[in-house]
């Protein structure tokens, strides 16, 4: 994936979804080369993709931020990320961001036909995520609910 070309679409999708779904303004930092892995802030949503490119989209945040986002989405307060609604809320936000980004990427290059896996969520302590031999592009973004990070790894798919 030409991540230089495509990261802006992930950034735009994140800003848009946070604004439309969560009513949160997001200010974006610079795109960084992450290397093979990153340390999670405690709550990571992942959406895989295959097609002309294959890889992963990650949305990472602290558990406190995840709880705040859930409260905004559902209108109820939860105490811990072990509650299904918190994991599902994270999953849905990650799902919509990646769906929007990939829609734009597919439309920009007919024939790419990238399709997404269902979202998954991992929460824990001292949690690190690695994609060996793939380098990641990440962007740290600030919101009123906390710091979020998006991360994308990709390589050419077999179609």
């Amino acid at each position: 994936m030409n991540l230089n070309q495509h990261m802006p679409m992930f950034i735009k999708a994140t800003v848009n979804v946070f604004k439309e779904m969560l009513d949160l303004k997001v200010s974006s930092g610079q795109v960084e080369n992450e290397g093979e892995g990153f340390l999670s802030q405690g709550f990571t949503v992942m959406v895989g993709f295959c097609g002309g490119w294959r890889g992963w989209f990650f949305l990472d945040m602290s558990q406190a931020t995840a709880l705040k986002l859930t409260e905004i989405l559902i209108g109820e307060q939860y105490q811990t990320v072990a509650e299904e609604e918190v994991l599902l809320s994270g999953a849905e936000v990650g799902n919509i961001i990646s769906g929007n980004a990939i829609t734009n990427i597919n439309n920009s290059q007919p024939g790419l036909n990238i399709r997404l896996t269902p979202p998954s969520v991992f929460a824990g302590e001292d949690m690190s995520l690695f994609n060996v031999r793939l380098s990641a592009h990440s962007v740290i973004m600030q919101t009123e609910a906390g710091t979020i990070k998006i991360n994308v790894v990709a390589e050419e798919g077999k179609g």
Binding site: G51, M127, L129, V132
Partner: protein, 153 residues
């Protein structure tokens, strides 16, 4: 999920572990699991897109992962779960997924796989499916390994 498809994942796993010198693996269980889990500190996830869509997660404790990496490297001692065992386990998951995908193709089911993501942490909770997850457990010389199959039919 159709048992034929579950078997493709089980056979993919057994074929590849055999190739890597990880012998003596016995299947000890097959069950449906509630969506949230908190056990294993090493989880390797591979996504599937195509005729079958979902996620497959290979899960185990760090000690088991180190022993598997050691076996894969011909018995070389592995004290810490660092770059080398991470690479070995990721490759194991990748090959298992590829082998399973080939078997599924033989059944007329075409599916593409993502690269593996390895997640290493403590006190983890995960949600890998909004439908059901099938858990197949194996026991071997290195310890217990779980395959979590969370796919939409």
């Amino acid at each position: 999920m159709d048992i034929k498809y579950i078997n493709s994942f089980i056979n993919g796993f057994l074929n590849v572990t055999e190739m890597m010198g990880i012998s003596g693996l016995q299947r000890t269980g097959l069950s449906k699991k509630a969506k949230l889990r908190t056990d294993n500190d090493i989880n390797i996830i591979i996504g599937l897109v195509g005729d079958i869509r979902g996620n497959v997660v290979l899960a185990m404790h760090e000690a088991t992962a180190c022993k598997i990496a050691s076996t894969m490297m011909g018995g070389m001692p592995v004290e810490k779960f660092d770059a080398m065992p991470r690479s070995a386990l990721s490759e194991l998951a990748n090959m298992m997924a590829g082998n399973s995908a080939s078997q599924l193709e033989g059944l007329g089911v075409k599916t593409n796989i993502t690269p593996p993501t390895l997640i290493h942490g403590q006190k983890m909770i995960s949600l890998i499916s909004q439908v059901e997850t099938i858990v197949v457990t194996f026991n071997g010389n290195e310890g217990q390994i779980e395959i979590n199959i969370a796919t939409e039919d």
